[in-house]
């Protein structure tokens, strides 16, 4: 057991902190408040910058040009990006930690070179598409189909709430290849955004994370060759679960970053704002809120690191550990952002205030990649399996 990163790891993270503070933090409010086109441009340029500096490839394995430093060390960096700009964080990691994951793990060499390597360099942006209008938390209920078409496939259906959907260069898509096959009846495909029959024009404006473009993907007789299939036919569901697990860890880190951003705003405010002749931090109604926020962040970070570490070591408890981290940090972010608004009072109720943005950004955490409700059911089922008679 060891609760510390090495000096080298920490020094690396410090360099990353300076970079995100200098290049990404100043535009966070602008991203939230500008037009879709402007937002997309800024986020895309951030993505490119992160790629050029080598910060998109931390967790990926060396086989795909990654740094092979694992999920745990990745969280150290990622929470810094999430803290300064949740939109950039989400857009970047929906690509690197979700869309690329099944390709890295189960794709062939050509697919890895074409999609993963380019994404990790910041050149292409991927999306991971699972949810459909009628099926979110129930992935077995998806309807999008991929039928055999010569030696290729033809896709029909609709995916929604796809992060990076409207701006993606490629999408990793789960589709039914054997009806009534259940978990063994789905396959995972890489669809190039230029493919005929692929439509990603519908954008959904969101409450928060406004710079991480969310939208629908529509497939109308979308024909792809055999090279689009990831891994084996009818094995896609399991592959997709790997992406989801990685996405849940990323969502936890995102929530952790938002929580930190909240405390970083509220603490100086409480120390400088005067009311009734004293700084408001001198009131326990304020200072105890700050203490609660800190405790949530500190504990949340441990749960995140514990989950990431279990991914790296292949621990049997990885699933439950990731669920614990996601539930705790996402609910913590909601609470912290609410308390942050409270510490600022009316000022934070005004659009354009960073606490107002964080309040909206935070709300995604408890929903995305399996809501808290589903995570809790999974945790309980795991217990029943372990201790049930």
């Amino acid at each position: 057991m060891n609760f510390e990163f090495t000096q080298e790891q920490l020094a690396d993270a410090d360099r990353f902190r300076s970079i995100v503070n200098e290049k990404i933090a100043p535009l966070a409010q602008k991203i939230d408040q500008s037009s879709p086109t402007e937002r997309d441009e800024i986020v895309r340029s951030h993505f490119k910058t992160l790629g050029e500096l080598g910060y998109l490839k931390l967790s990926a394995s060396e086989g795909v040009g990654g740094a092979g430093r694992g999920a745990l060390e990745w969280t150290l960096h990622a929470e810094m990006l999430a803290k300064v700009c949740p939109s950039t964080f989400l857009a970047a990691y929906a690509a690197t930690e979700m869309a690329c994951v099944p390709i890295t793990l189960f794709g062939n060499e050509i697919q890895r070179q074409q999609y993963v390597v380019q994404t990790l360099n910041g050149d292409t942006l991927g999306a991971f598409a699972l949810t459909e209008p009628e099926g979110g938390s129930d992935p077995l209920g998806i309807k999008t189909s991929a039928g055999k078409d010569g030696d290729g496939w033809v896709l029909n259906g609709c995916k929604t709430y796809v992060t990076n959907g409207p701006v993606c260069d490629f999408a990793v898509v789960l589709a039914v290849t054997k009806s009534d096959g259940g978990v063994k009846g789905m396959s995972l495909f890489i669809i190039d955004a230029k493919t005929a029959g692929f439509d990603n024009s519908k954008r959904l404006e969101t409450m928060g994370h406004r710079g991480a473009a969310l939208g629908e993907l529509v497939f109308k007789d979308c024909r792809v060759g055999p090279e689009a299939l990831i891994g084996m036919e009818n094995e896609g569901f399991g592959y997709a679960m790997h992406a989801l697990q990685s996405g849940r860890l990323a969502a936890s880190v995102g929530s952790l970053g938002i929580g930190q951003a909240g405390l970083a705003l509220a603490l100086p405010r409480a120390m400088t704002r005067e009311s009734r002749g004293k700084k408001i931090i001198r009131n326990q109604e304020v200072s105890f809120k700050l203490a609660e926020m800190y405790a949530l962040i500190d504990t949340g970070r441990l749960l995140v690191q514990y989950a990431a570490s279990s991914i790296d070591t292949g621990d049997a408890e990885t699933g439950p550990n990731v669920s614990c981290a996601k539930i705790f940090t996402s609910e913590a972010a909601t609470k912290i952002s609410t308390l942050t608004v409270q510490v600022f009072g009316a000022a934070a109720y005004v659009v354009g205030h960073p606490a107002e943005r964080l309040y909206r950004d935070a709300r995604a955490g408890e929903i995305m990649y399996g809501p808290s409700e589903i995570q809790r059911v999974m945790l309980a089922q795991d217990l029943i399996g372990k201790y049930g008679v």
Binding site: F288, L302, P320, R376, A380, G388
Partner: protein, 385 residues
Amino acid sequence: MDFELSPEQRAFRDTVVRFCEDKIAPHAEKADRTCEFSYEAFYEMGKFGLLGLHYPEEYGGQEADILTSVMAGEAMGLGGADGGLLLAWGAHTYLCGDTILKHGTDEQKKKYLPKIAKGEWIGAMALTEPGAGSDAASIKTSAAKKDGKWILNGSKTFITNAPIADVMVVYAVTDASAGYGGMSGFIVEKDAPGYSVGKPFHKMGMNSSQTSEVFFDNCEIPESNLLGMEGAGFMMILQTLEWDRSALMAPFIGSMEKSIRSCTRYTLERRQFNKPIADFQAVQRKLADMVIYRNAVRLLVYRVAWNKDQGRMLNHLEAAVAKLYAADEGFRMAYEAVQIYGGYGYIHEYPVERAFRDARLGSIGGGTSEVQKLIISKILAQEAK
């Protein structure tokens, strides 16, 4: 960074769990009901080595590291499920014994520690007074030197183990004008003239431990019973927090683990509306939360222990968060366990009922949850300056 326990650490934890299931758990319910301290179980703990795990061998210990001590506490919470006995264990081994180990002279260590480690003598620590709880620096009990002796006057309250203690570490004011630097620690034996203890309080929980007032009426102790440097008392109290926030919080982890196991089984056995209540999501939510907070508290408490094992000063931020969550969430989970058991959970015979009453002390004893928040917010403000 890694969170793996070694196979030896796991094996040790399992051994302690089995020992406690065998020697402690069978008596826990009766001890709670009769409010009796079990000398027999305590002596068994001594024989097993649990009363001085980290003490040097020459004083009857096993020189275990702090993480091991924490795992022992966790294992005792899980296997023994006797909150009171563990409260007694903490006051005896750490608040009393470890303070003597850290600050005592060779003679003091030789005299007291082997007896404490064996459980032959029972130790206690007296700080809190009727008028001084969270504001520990405001204690009034005084100690003055006279004719080669220390004369103590004043009273203490809520002192764990006081009614049964053979030796007690007592904090008193030696220089009323020196504030934090005017407190000193003393070793008081039960036969000291002018020393007396009150009747055991009838408590809400932790009933297998004995708690009472302590009175010093011109209590005379030898000059050599000063513990540590004169004026260093407050610093010594702060040092005991290292244990208070690690080993003493560890039973909460074990207790949560025990709740998780028994509640999971119960929710599968108990049927309502023609199905096990485990099928209801409102019940599942409680089980899931128990897992989340067990993991959280375990990580927080282990971190305090690990840092201490690296030879570092106590990080008060980390320690305060650990105490806050172990106490508050430990209690909340004990509450949920009662809720899962329903009417049965309200009956004395069911361990969740006792665990619920025991857990309530967490956010009061050893620094309230409010004090933890005070500490956290003060450090945050200092660091931000």
